[in-house]
């Protein structure tokens, strides 16, 4: 199995996606930290500066990762999943023999590793820029790092539905990229609908991405130095169990569908 996963990484050699991911994980934190620095004003209290770092961190998770990462991972997954189809290498794997389910497991593991890697890169660069630009006090690194890791896993699971669609449509990279963007836009729009009408608040947490986002916000808030939130906002937050169940169902359902679709077109 390890060889299979290593193989998936080897197959991406010389593909532009890897440097692109690193570049993006560099640019976005810069943007976040910069905007957080701009809004800083003259307050120099420790509490406030810590708050700025927290703000950068939540912005990074909330905007950068929740919406951007499924896109990126979707594109990456379409590369990995179309690779055998486009190069007619599936037969070479089959005669080794490698089973479809193991191949899918390897490809998803590669996506997961990239997901975690991307999240951690983002966090590292965000911290680095905060330090360089002097945009807050860096603290509670251990928790934030660990949480980034968990978040990376969560966001990868939340991306699985897109991957299911990508496999189902089994079309070009372009269509898959569009699908990934569409997923991000869908999430945005669901979120904005709820902002208009707070009574829909329960629906939003049925969406794995948004559920993860809200759950993360809750975890962060529990930790954060200052909490100035309206009580209504707490309605948004899913319980741990809820988040766990939503992501769990997403995971199981996606895996089953993927296996089914992938098998269909490799026959």
């Amino acid at each position: 199995m390890l060889n299979l996963i290593a193989g998936e990484f080897a197959k991406l050699k010389r593909k532009k996606i890897v440097p692109f991911i690193v570049l993006l994980s560099l640019l976005f934190p810069l943007l976040v930290v910069y905007s957080s620095k701009m809004g800083m004003g003259n307050d120099t209290s420790v509490e406030f500066l810590k708050g700025r770092f927290d703000l950068s961190y939540t912005m990074m998770l909330g905007y950068g990762l929740v919406f951007l990462e499924p896109c990126l991972l979707g594109i990456l997954a379409s590369m990995l999943f179309f690779m055998e189809r486009d190069n007619d290498t599936f037969k070479n794997l089959c005669v080794i023999p490698v089973t479809t389910s193991r191949l899918i497991a390897a490809k998803l593991s590669a996506v997961l590793i990239y997901g975690i890697f991307y999240t951690l890169c983002n966090f590292t660069f965000m911290t680095f820029f905060t330090w360089i630009l002097n945009a807050g006090i860096i603290y509670d690194i251990g928790f934030k790092l660990a949480f980034s890791f968990i978040f990376g896993i969560g966001i990868t699971i939340a991306t699985l539905p897109v991957i299911v669609f990508i496999i189902y449509f089994n079309k070009s990279y372009l269509i898959s990229t569009l699908l990934s963007f569409f997923y991000a836009i869908l999430n945005w729009s669901v979120l904005s609908i709820v902002e208009i009408n707070l009574s829909l608040v329960k629906i939003i947490n049925l969406f794995p991405t948004l559920c993860l986002m809200n759950w993360s916000s809750k975890k962060m808030l529990d930790r954060m130095a200052d909490r100035h939130l309206l009580p209504e906002a707490y309605l948004l937050f899913p319980s741990d169990i809820w988040a766990f169940v939503v992501l769990g169902i997403t995971l199981v359902l996606s895996l089953l569908l993927m296996l089914n679709f992938y098998k269909k077109w490799t026959r």
Partner: protein
């Protein structure tokens, strides 16, 4: 247990209503080269895919090493090397990197396997060239390197000489011959080129429209590759009588009222003709005929020919 390494029993594959392979029974013996000969679309690739479990048969069975392939893939497949249709590799990797991926999955950790396989097919080891920059023949060679890399006991090669130049073809032929003769490997190759198969194979199966028309050894086939003397005479029955009584031979065939073919070649044509004339027959034609393998294949495939 049968002595066949590869055996199919009523193997059938239908796509919709159309049968690509139907009721196929082939028998590949140990240590021999079996040539599957057929025209485009005859069902060679479909057959080979079923042998490897890449395509599930509609009905029938494939047995390799005496066991059905379905359910025994883990045991059987590692002992087979295969090349099916076009070479499939990752275009953004070099030859060595490509082979490395597959070698690792096969559990071959030693780089020497890769190096030796590339040497065998005359490709450079650790070349910088990417697979996408390879020529057709080079891609084909790499595919063969992949097939032999793990030193399998059985090779299944679908049109292995596709895209090779004449020297490459000759090299490939002696390479395959050597794998069989020196290393005792059992090899199944397919081709639509008759001369290729007749130069290489020990046993031949002719497949057309998914059906196996003939299966025999090359030696047997070559016997069918007969020479004969064709006579056109005024009365073929009388000629036959003369051949029997005067020349004591029964190896002839009366084609019709005027045409008769004599299979025995060591009788003097001149004295036969003279004898015919002396007995009042008119001989309008006497010539040597040769029915080549190709004519034979034309005949078995229904006159469309294989080339």
């Amino acid at each position: 247990m049968s002595d066949y390494i590869i055996e199919t029993r009523n193997l059938t594959k239908k796509y919709g209503n159309q049968a690509s392979v139907s009721e196929l029974n082939i028998h590949v013996r140990k240590g021999r080269i079996y040539g599957l000969l057929g025209r485009n679309g005859a069902g060679k690739t479909t057959t080979m895919r079923m042998l490897l479990g890449l395509t599930v048969p509609t009905s029938g069975e494939v047995r390799i090493f005496g066991n059905p392939i379905q359910g025994n893939e883990k045991k059987i497949l590692p002992r087979i090397g295969s090349l099916i249709e076009s070479p499939g590799f990752y275009p953004n990797l070099t030859a060595t990197e490509n082979l490395k991926i597959f070698a690792k999955l096969r559990g071959l950790d030693n780089e020497n396997y890769i190096k030796r396989a590339l040497e065998l097919v005359n490709l450079p080891y650790r070349d910088k060239k990417l697979f996408s920059q390879y020529s057709l023949g080079m891609k084909q060679r790499l595919a063969i390197a992949l097939a032999v890399m793990h030193d399998p006991a059985v090779l299944i090669l679908d049109e292995p000489i596709n895209g090779l130049d004449p020297i490459g073809i000759a090299e490939m032929r002696s390479f395959i011959r050597e794998l069989c003769d020196v290393k005792g490997k059992t090899i199944l190759i397919s081709s639509h080129i008759l001369s290729e198969i007749s130069l290489l194979a020990d046993d031949i199966g002719i497949i057309d429209h998914g059906k196996l028309l003939e299966e025999e050894s090359l030696a047997e086939l070559e016997q069918k590759n007969r020479h004969y003397i064709h006579f056109t005479v005024s009365d073929s029955r009388q000629a036959a009588h003369l051949l029997e009584t005067v020349f004591q031979t029964r190896t002839f065939k009366i084609r019709d009222k005027n045409n008769i073919q004599l299979m025995e070649m060591n009788l003097p044509v001149a004295s036969i003709t003279r004898c015919f004339v002396e007995n009042g027959l008119e001989v309008s034609e006497a010539h040597l005929c040769e029915e080549t393998l190709e004519d034979y294949f034309k005949k078995v495939t229904g006159g469309e020919g294989i080339a």
